[in-house]
Symmetry: C2
Subunit: 349 residues, 2 copies
Amino acid sequence: MIVLGATGLVGRTMLRILAERDFPVRELRPLGSDRNTPRSIEFRGTGIPVTPVHADAFAGADLALFACANAVSRQWAVVARAAGVTVVDNSSAFRYDDAVPLVVPEVNGVLLDAHPPLVANPNCSTIALAVALAPLAREAGIERVVVSTYQSVSGAGSEALDELERGVRLGLDGPPPARGDGGPPFAFNVVPHIDRFEDNGYSREEMKVVWELRKILDLPALPITATAVRVPVRIGHAAAVNVTLARPLSPDEARRLWAGSPGTKVVDDPAEGVYPTPIMAAGRDDVLVGRVRRDLSQPHGLEFFVASDNLRKGAATNAIQIAERLVAAPGGVRPTGALLPGTRATGAR
Amino acid sequence: MIVLGATGLVGRTMLRILAERDFPVRELRPLGSDRNTPRSIEFRGTGIPVTPVHADAFAGADLALFACANAVSRQWAVVARAAGVTVVDNSSAFRYDDAVPLVVPEVNGVLLDAHPPLVANPNCSTIALAVALAPLAREAGIERVVVSTYQSVSGAGSEALDELERGVRLGLDGPPPARGDGGPPFAFNVVPHIDRFEDNGYSREEMKVVWELRKILDLPALPITATAVRVPVRIGHAAAVNVTLARPLSPDEARRLWAGSPGTKVVDDPAEGVYPTPIMAAGRDDVLVGRVRRDLSQPHGLEFFVASDNLRKGAATNAIQIAERLVAAPGGVRPTGALLPGTRATGAR
């Protein structure tokens, strides 16, 4: 098992979740995607050396989780594939390639049974939305989606998280400073700017939600619009979702659907102060769904609020669920090498 | 001029803005709405004693700005009216009363020319939305509005602001604590809960947006839905707005409309990092509008993002703009008493 980008926020979370879920890890090779890589990283309490990624790094491996920038993914996916390694890529480099499945296992995991050599892991906000919308799409049909996100700073990586921390400290006793890149402060602010802007005025983050939801839900023409906003939260993305259904579905019916669906947890008793928040979602793998109500503004509409851990289900957990199913699929990934000490061979859930 | 609730966040902002705008203040009477009132408050650099509100507090006055809780407003509006005092009330006590105008001067200020004895000042989020939506409603017709808010903690008062401060300090080095009222932390979190919950699953804050926008825009059946969310920001409310128009309107046309409308300022060059944020809006009276784009998900839709200072235009400035127009209206409020030293008689803008 290779983890490329093992020292980043998502890479480290991947290592933690591989251990948590007792993934049958054989020969772990943490690879660094840049020169600043620390020399070792901890896995199950043991320090394991991190090697900068290089041409022979993939030889003899079975599976690689990529948690790196698009350009790095593009460069090394070819090399990994040439070495026969199956790649689960967390970047957006391959997500919009028709030949590459974009997978949320609870929604379209069946695509993994065809043992694809390269699988794209969706955007962190998109995964939670897909998990929450899929049961509605199956049961009542979805005609339009309007999303506003509340995205935590960890989604921008560990340097951004340091920037938030610094901004909050300075902002307690004065105005929060502009960010190192000149952008408006994360601290004590909300910033409607994630990733670069497209010609249509949407940010690329917003278009990821549009493009990826359509692909994952297999509704290529679904009308979707999104506003993606960074908020001064460390971990946990939330979203306010307004959905137009083809057939009526009451809030109670929707809650029952979610309660019976994998990956969602209904957290919805607002009068008692029970509703999803990022802090509640952090450290969990379920997508929390609450504030479910009949939309006042259209006949077959629902409003709801979701929160999920963007580093876990929004990135690392989803990638590892993909890996688990790739390993479990008949004719799929053939594990190579000996199991690491203390690892069960059949840990995949 | 009476300010009831003069020591709260909004009351203090009212005093600051009365001075800033050179409002022709005659005999300022700051009144406290509770027992914890400090004994004096500053106005134009002079300490003025704050008196707890009492039965004779309104005698001989012309105009009163109320910045207090609903119950306090209900109790004292009657007394003020009996004394012949015109009341501009910032609570929600009278907003839904058909006999009471609910006014955003840029939108429906004409209602003030009938010299109403009691005027309701709208909800802080609603004011910004009304200012931004009114030009679109006039030009292209509005058929539906979907709003998600990003509301600062000052909207919940100065104790909530202290709570945020405390939560952030503790949250820098550990998990942010639950709030004093048992609610989830404001710090490093977003909380989809403002005001109490209604039977339909919406929060009262969300319903305020619905009810008040319909009344201010004079579109009593307008389909509106809202999700109101508290974010860890001190001052400045933002909102993502999705609007369905009756007739097509391009983003450029919308920007031109806003550029030519009172109360709005277009801040919209996202590729250059120029878009509204709460920090940018704080301390200003304009409603900032940006991130304007053609909605991908419907034929005649626009998406945009607004930010405004919830204590100023969202509360104090709007109330004082109402007062200015009440004083300026022929046959309207007759100022009583001598002008305070240093105050011009014709300062109203």
